[in-house]
């Protein structure tokens, strides 16, 4: 156990250094923050210029912050989670560093643990930055961060399996696009009611809706049961998928 923790610690430290030194990874981690800045600039003035009264402006502002924080969660989890797991592992496979690790008596579980911790850490840091850029109320911060972590579970687990299944970074590109697209579906729920219903059922639809409820102050209510159930179902499905496929894909070629 101690040896395993020591190896995970060493891997995590190495992965953190590599995350900073890898321009592609760094850019992906900065992208959700960039989008938040853009949202802030573009959407921030909408209510001011729309000639709304104070009540209408407050309501519109609340809708905007719900959308912005929900979007931040989906973007950080979708972009950062999938990129770190799928590309990170695919690069290690392509450059044979994963095999070198295996030959240094490092298990696939230890590599998976390190990559998962790195993804959760990066998602949390990104979420935190996005929260303050979006102008979220500090009273929502706890719920927002917790939803970020819970929502990461299915995306990170599926990405981990896909990363291990990749042969190289080209395959990683092919595998990561669907993960990213599915993660971003809730952002388009505003466009259409039918789309909103479908979006609510996607892996991040539940936490997107729950974030809106946290802003509305209805997170602890019966309304939250449905998105909670959706989120729990996706977590359970991803855990089953991970358990079924991990051993099969964990061997490097």
């Amino acid at each position: 156990m101690n040896a395993s923790l020591r190896k995970i610690g060493a891997l995590l430290q190495k992965d953190l250094v590599d995350l900073v030194k890898n321009p592609a990874m760094s850019v992906v981690c900065l992208m959700p923050i960039g989008f938040m800045l853009l949202y802030r600039i573009v959407i921030g003035d909408v209510t001011a210029d729309a000639g709304l009264d104070a009540r209408q402006a407050a309501l519109a502002g609340q809708e905007i912050i719900k959308f912005t924080l929900g979007s931040a969660l989906c973007m950080t989890i979708g972009m950062v989670g999938s990129m770190i797991e799928i590309y990170g592992i695919a690069e290690e496979k392509e450059k044979h560093t994963l095999r070198t690790l295996m030959l240094a008596n490092v298990g696939a579980g230890e590599v998976a643990a390190s990559k998962t911790l790195l993804a959760l850490l990066a998602i949390s840091v990104d979420n935190l930055a996005c929260f303050f850029i979006a102008g979220g109320d500090v009273s929502w911060l706890g719920s927002y961060m917790a939803l970020g972590l819970v929502g990461s579970i299915p995306v990170v687990l599926v990405s981990l399996v896909l990363g291990l299944a990749c042969r190289d970074q080209m395959t990683a590109g092919f595998y990561s696009v669907p993960v990213l697209l599915v993660a971003l579906v809730p952002l388009f729920g505003m466009a259409d009611e039918n789309l909103a219903r479908i979006a609510s059922l996607t892996p991040l639809g539940g936490i997107y809706d729950l974030m809106g409820m946290a802003v509305d102050g209805t997170l602890i209510s019966s309304e939250a049961l449905s998105p909670l159930a959706v989120t729990a179902a996706w977590i359970a499905a991803s855990c089953i998928l991970f358990a079924a496929l991990f051993k099969r894909v964990a061997r490097d070629n």
Binding site: A10, L11, Q13, K14, M102, L103, A104
Partner: protein, 281 residues
């Protein structure tokens, strides 16, 4: 502690219908440098993969540290260092950062890193990013990463492949030091000169089967021809046999001060391989 650290007995392995290893039997003693020789495709890397849990045999028995390989624990594998044909370091990290990472991974301090870098002539390049290193530097750095935890048993898969003569000499010097320190080395190579200079014993592999296994010198003597070649001052090159009949001729030439050189006509390992298999490397 058992003197045999590693052994294979009747090990076979097939990929589909192709039999790649056919009844391999050999053993490696503690502190020995054992060379596994053969041309490309002979089964050298496959053998290392079996010994390092990357492949599973079809039949036969493999013993590691005195117990069946199936029962070898993670602690046993912590006593092993492996440099494979695909070993690679992280290219956005420096040589030193990579070695520090592997030291931490292996639960070792970073204290030995400076000494190891000096020994491999990499001390001046310690801060160089691996992506900016030459192939020789990468190979030597990868060897250091495999050695960072002072393994008892070291698997080296063609460690000098593609290296320039100076880098090969560095690696050979390092191997000699490791042997003196008691490290057991299992080395695959297709370089016969390297095997002759570095290994205590060699096994020659051809088409997945061992065709000879002995000390390099013993193998070459076994296939030595019954011929002496004498270079003389005035009579050119004189050839004779090694038996008693030649004694008088050699004595006469020596007495007359005619001898410039006398060579017994021993084959090198490459010629032994050719003799054994009818194939060239």
């Amino acid at each position: 502690m058992p003197s045999t650290i590693l052994s294979m007995e009747g090990v076979t392995l097939s990929f589909g219908t192709k039999r790649v290893l056919d009844g391999l039997t050999f053993s490696v003693s503690r502190g020995e440098c054992f060379g596994f020789l053969g041309p490309s495709g002979a089964g050298k890397t496959t053998t290392i993969k079996l010994l390092t849990r990357q492949l599973v045999r079809d039949a036969g028995r493999i013993m590691l540290f005195g117990r069946p390989i199936e029962n070898a624990s993670d602690a046993d594998y912590d006593r092993i260092g492996i440099l494979s044909d695909t070993s690679a370091l992280y290219d956005r990290m420096s040589i030193e950062e990579n070695l520090r990472f592997y030291a931490r991974l292996r639960g070792r301090g970073a204290g030995d890193i400076g000494r190891l870098l000096e020994r491999m002539n990499l001390a001046h390049d310690r801060k160089t990013l691996v992506k900016n290193c030459s192939k020789g530097m990468r190979q030597r750095a990868a060897l250091l990463a495999a050695l960072i935890h002072s393994p008892e048993l070291l698997f080296l898969d063609e460690p000098t492949s593609g290296l320039d003569p100076a880098a090969r000499t560095e690696v050979h010097r390092m191997l000699a030091e490791l042997r003196r320190a008691g490290t057991t080395i299992f080395l695959t190579t297709h370089d016969m000169t390297e095997a002759t200079g570095v290994c205590d014993r060699v096994a020659i592999l051809n088409d997945g089967a061992i065709v000879a296994c002995d000390r390099p010198k013993s193998l070459t003597l076994k296939f030595a021809r019954n011929r002496l070649v004498i270079e003389t001052r005035t009579r050119g090159v004189v050839e004779t046999t090694k038996d008693a009949a030649a004694a008088e001729l050699v004595g006469d030439l020596l007495t007359a001060g005619e001898c410039l050189s006398i060579h017994s006509d021993e084959p090198n390992l490459e010629e032994v391989f050719l003799e054994l298999t009818g194939r060239e490397f």
